[in-house]
């Protein structure tokens, strides 16, 4: 609940629906005997309308539907790991305060975030799947891709470690051992950056994952970690989500430190030439800030349980 901070700018609301039809008002012109009850019903309907309408001018929610005044609002489509780890909740309020923007975050898998960007439904994307990012730029959906930060993926699994991969440094060989043993492996299965990394590793291992042990969950990182813990299976996770959730899980880190497990995050502005309505200036401001000395310092300073989750990687500009 902590990250539910209302971080949006306040502004008077537009009123999209007028209370022309009160639901219970079908009673005009009745006999006077019914008047009292009629009035109470009409009053109730009016009260409900007022209640509903009043909300549109309440702070924090009122700025909805003022897209033409939207140059102070930035729409960021990003992955679940940046939001669920608490990183964005630590960074964005600082940026908003310094630059006077409001940032609206939609957090989904990398695949979905890139699709939202390609459709012009966001101003910029912060994702982690280098191949898909390059394709996004090559296809003209995005411009000005920049490195922001990196961390790494881990293979986590049950303490019993049936495939005996504990302490291994070679991720590909570990996956091969898990498959050979027929051990349970829970996959994101949602085209997220983590899923794309997993598929690349399976490909390197020369194994096509399937069979009873392989569960394709189609869910976010948090849910998949919970499932792996319940099913006592292996899974591939980013370090950020793992650190935020490990106290609630019956799993442990088994494989880490393989260079193949590097997890770089990139930020890309949605191409304003293709989507003229996007807030290109706002997107640029946020990208500049995240890759600035201060933004990079704050990324490095963000810790969960004393552990650094993201390492700055932006090149000096």
């Amino acid at each position: 609940m902590n990250e539910m901070t209302a971080r949006l700018r306040r502004r008077p609301g537009r009123r999209p629906v007028r209370p022309t039809d009160a639901p219970c008002d079908g009673t005009r012109g009745r006999g006077s005997a019914d008047a009292a009850r009629r009035h109470s019903m009409v009053g109730m309907a009016v009260l409900l309308v007022g209640l509903a309408m009043g909300g549109l001018s309440s702070p924090g929610v009122a700025q909805s539907g003022t897209p033409r005044a939207a140059d102070r609002v930035i729409r960021l489509a990003t992955t679940t790991s940046t939001e669920n780890s608490g990183l964005l909740a630590a960074l964005l309020p600082v940026f908003e305060k310094q630059h006077g923007y409001g940032v609206r975050v939609v957090s989904v898998g990398t695949g979905a975030a890139l699709r939202i960007g390609a459709n012009g439904d966001a101003d910029l994307v912060l994702v982690h799947a280098r191949a898909a990012e390059d394709r996004f730029v090559a296809e003209g959906h995005g411009v000005d891709r920049r490195d922001v930060m990196y961390n790494d993926f881990l293979i986590v699994g049950p303490r019993s470690d049936p495939a005996q991969v504990r302490g291994a440094r070679d991720a590909v060989a570990s996956l091969r051992a898990i498959a050979a043993r027929g051990a349970r492996f829970v996959s994101r299965g949602d085209e997220s950056g983590t899923h794309q990394m997993e598929l690349a590793l399976w490909k390197s291992a020369g194994v096509s994952p399937k069979g009873a042990g392989y569960a394709s969950a189609g869910r976010g990182m948090g849910e998949v970690l919970t499932m792996a813990s319940e099913l006592q299976g292996y899974t591939l996770t980013d370090r950020g989500t793992w650190a935020a959730m490990k106290s609630r899980l019956d799993l442990e880190v088994l494989v880490e430190g393989d260079p193949a497990l590097a997890n770089p995050y990139g930020i890309i502005a949605v191409n304003p030439a293709r989507h003229p309505h996007v807030n290109a200036a706002g997107a640029r401001a946020l990208m500049d800030w995240l890759t600035s000395a201060e933004g990079q310092r704050r990324i490095a300073a963000f810790k969960v349980g004393g552990e650094t989750l993201f390492f700055p990687q932006a090149k000096a500009r």
């Binding site: 609940m1 990250e3 539910m4 901070t5 209302a6 971080r7 949006l8 999209p16 629906v17 209370p19 039809d21 639901p23 219970c24 079908g26 009673t27 012109g29 009745r30 009850r37 109470s40 019903m41 109730m44 309907a45 409900l48 309308v49 209640l51 509903a52 909300g55 549109l56 309440s58 924090g60 929610v61 700025q63 909805s64 539907g65 897209p67 939207a70 729409r75 679940t80 669920n84 609206r104 975050v105 939609v106 957090s107 459709n119 012009g120 439904d121 869910r219 976010g220 948090g222 849910e223 970690l225 919970t226 935020a244 959730m245 609630r248 899980l249 989507h275 309505h277």
Partner: protein, 236 residues
Amino acid sequence: MDLIEPTREAIARLVALDAPLWQVIWTSIRVALLALLVAAPLAIGAGFVLATTRFPGRRVLIVLLQSLLAFPTVVVGLLLYLLLSRRGPLGAWELLFTPEAMVIGQAVIAFPIICAFALAAVQAADPRLFETARLLGARPLRAGLTTLREVRFALVAAVLSGFGRVISEVGCALMVGGNIAGLTRTIPTAIALETSKGAFTEGIALGIVLMIVALGINALLSLCQGHGGWMQGMRG
């Protein structure tokens, strides 16, 4: 995990006027009520027409309406998403990921429920009511309103069913709202988020909050029903 701890947490947060929590509650209530304001008059009108008139294709329409009760909300969300996306036909409206988009989605979800219940209510009413009103000189519209007034107990029940469906709905709200903190996060989408983070206690606490909110709104709307239910029962 027990239920006492989450319950205590839920009540503590409500009493402490936890701002983000109240924001989420307020978004839920506001969106659901606006959706009902849009859907209910149309749905009740359509239900009345379906119940009282005869035209070719009416049976098909009723079967279709009743099948729509089983329509997954996530599909409503997906269709609406495709319509409202920048790439979609209504992209210029710039409504995707706003509360307005959620209002539209929930109105679409509530419509078949309220309409089907209204249809059943009017069909169950004594047809002589309408005829008598007409004989006493009422115009068709007046006579129709008289009928609706007589079955208002069932109509409010219809609206309450619609409310129950939309306030607890997660698929469409998540898809067209985007679960944006402080803007489009509702109680059910917040529960989905907490659950995805493995924060089950917070999830249950929010579930309890939803129950409390639903109880309050239902009590309020029940006042609309008045004493119609049992008074009519005693008269009849």
